[in-house]
Amino acid sequence: MRRRTFLATALAAAPAAATLAGCGVFKGNDASSSNAAATANGTVAPAQVTVYVSGDVNVQNLWNKNLGPAFSKAFPGFSVRVLVEGTTSASTVLARLGASIKTNQDPGMDILDGSFTTAATGGLLAKVSTANVPNLANVSSSLLTPVDYAAVPYRGSAVVLAYNSKYVSTPPKTLDELLAWITANPGKFTYNSPSSGGSGQSFVETTLTKYVSAADNAKMVAGYVPSLEGDWNQGFATLKGLSSSIYQHVYPNGNQAVLDLLDSGSIYLAPVWSDMGLAALASGGLPSTVKLAQLSDPSFTGGAAYLGIPVNAAHKDAALKLVNWVLEPAQQETIVSVLAGFPAISTSLLSSATQSKFSGLDTSSLRAAYSTEMTTDMCSLWQQKVAG
């Protein structure tokens, strides 16, 4: 059903975009005189920029309620359309993008929000530099090299361990301690099924990595090596062994479902996204007794979220304009306050109140996750070997 919706929106988007581009000719003249529609690469015709969001509800809300409206307000005539497609894996979206480039079709999206390193290094996304995105000057180059300068980092987050301090006084500090805690406290831990969200995915991946050599692990992060999947057997056996200690023996669907269980007090400990956890604590979605902590050596995975522009995007200039605008300090402050995400630009550009939140945190040092295709296979094997 979701796929059908996607096709319908993709088909609907093409004529809609054409109409808007047509209107843009008229509006463009006004806009260039009054508003600053002129950027580094000349006047940009107003357009509707379609942003594909692969994140959870919090990221969808960031675009729908904050960034989108603010962008239209700052630049009249421009608008943002958010495309959300549930649990579709990153590799399915990438493959669709690849197919649209191969067949010379409109990909139906102008910006992809996610961690699409494979797409960037595979040449599916347009190159960025300070020439077309001037604000990149404020972004650490260590975030740009992994994506080969073909995507713009715009926020960061990591998976952390959330625990309810009312019941857990000394949270586990390492993965081994965590695994021991789970078996010692049956029914008080769970993680979402890895195909339904990144926090459960990170827990599964971190556990698998425990039994994988550093060299093999690096290969799985860098690319697609199905021949190494045998390395995972021991990790999957460990996860299967935990199943009798998992809350209700069920793995909820989605990151948010796990937060809800933490909130109701049904579970005491769970892997959660740092941004979702912090935002829930701020809004009352989690009781204040819930604390966040990171495991050490290895930590859970994390990293920057990127905005990528498909090489064949229909509104490339407008998309570049939006990406550049998102890197401005005001929008970065919004991301920090709304999403509790890590900023992508140097924190010294942000207000001192915001700076104090991030003392000692550095988005560029987070442990990288497996490549998208390895992750897809990991989810599939988990379903067979652990959930079954």
Binding site: R3, S89, T92, A99, Q248, S264, D377, Q383, Q384, G388
Partner: protein
């Protein structure tokens, strides 16, 4: 029928047939071709997308994708779960809708009407909302367990995230159709036949067995087949209420297609569901033909 008549009938029927062929027939054929490993035509993009595909370059197809899926224990468990849930839920829906329809037909009155009205309520509640409500109702801290706990039974079973819960959900969703079908089916039996049976000295049970059951054969078959087919391909109810795994084939197919990026394997599973539904559908077609024949002979 003369030849001109037949030709005119064919022309009149052809637009829907063509639409069905273009929008249902062709995708089905191309999907089935893909399961045998043909990557050409409509499948070329999908073949570029998927992981773990079994493709052929020549004309001879391959059964490797089928072997792959059949060797997957998750598929076998899910298939089994799907068949069991479908059989159980269909049986319960049939029993409940027959019971309500029979009460309404024989006793009537206000209670019968209220019962039939209540049974149709699920039709007006969206499936997503109903599924979530059912999940919460049977959850460890849900209404049912709270009620039992208050009555002194602290170990009442939990049906949230179980296949039993999924079966309850399927019954909830399918009951309205069954009740509507059976009440109208039993109401169509003329009073004269029941009165004649009574005059001949038949007990109410005998009248039901010898008059109502045979007269309502067609609506009964339709209730059975439609309920079973809609349950076998369902997605929302098992996705929301069911366990992570093994669940029904609907969620497994979606996961395989989207999350695991294995479109070929997902389509093999779809073929399996299609084959089971085709067997059920055959009963429906047979019942329909029989109904048409009886209609004609009158």
């Amino acid at each position: 029928m003369t030849r001109a008549h037949r030709l005119r009938a064919l022309v009149m029927a052809s637009p829907p047939v063509l639409v069905a062929a273009a929008f249902i027939g062709m995708p089905v054929v191309s999907a089935v071709m893909f399961t045998f490993g043909y990557p050409g035509g409509f499948n070329s993009i999908l073949a570029d997308i998927g992981q773990h595909e079994h493709l052929v370059t020549g004309t001879g197809g391959t059964l490797d994708a089928y072997r792959d899926v059949l060797a997957n224990p998750l598929f076998r468990q899910s298939l089994w779960a799907t068949v069991l849930v479908t059989a159980a839920a269909t049986a319960v829906v049939l029993a409940l809708s027959w019971g309500i329809a029979l009460y309404l037909r024989l006793a009537g009155g206000r209670i019968g009407k209220i019962l039939a009205g209540l049974a149709v309520v699920p039709m007006f509640i969206p499936v997503v909302i109903a599924s979530y409500a059912i999940l919460e109702f049977y959850s460890p801290n849900g209404f049912l367990r709270s009620l039992f706990a208050a009555l002194g039974w602290s170990n009442a079973p939990v049906y949230g995230y179980t296949m039993v819960g999924v079966t309850f959900g399927q019954i909830w969703v399918s009951l309205p159709f069954g009740v509507l079908m059976m009440t109208s089916g039993l109401n169509a039996v003329p009073d004269a036949l029941l009165e004649a049976a009574r005059d001949a000295g038949a007990t109410p049970a005998r009248a039901v067995r010898s008059v109502l059951v045979p007269m309502a054969k067609v609506p009964t078959t339709i209730t059975c087949t439609f309920t079973a087919i809609s349950i076998i391909g369902s997605y929302t109810v098992p996705y929301l209420i069911g366990p992570s795994s093994p669940n029904m084939l609907g969620p497994l197919m979606t996961d395989t297609f989207q999350s695991f990026n294995q479109p070929q394997q997902a389509e093999v599973m779809a073929v399996a569901i299609f084959l089971i539904s085709a067997v059920i559908g055959a009963y429906y077609v047979r019942a329909n033909l029989r109904g048409a024949k009886e209609g004609k002979s009158k």
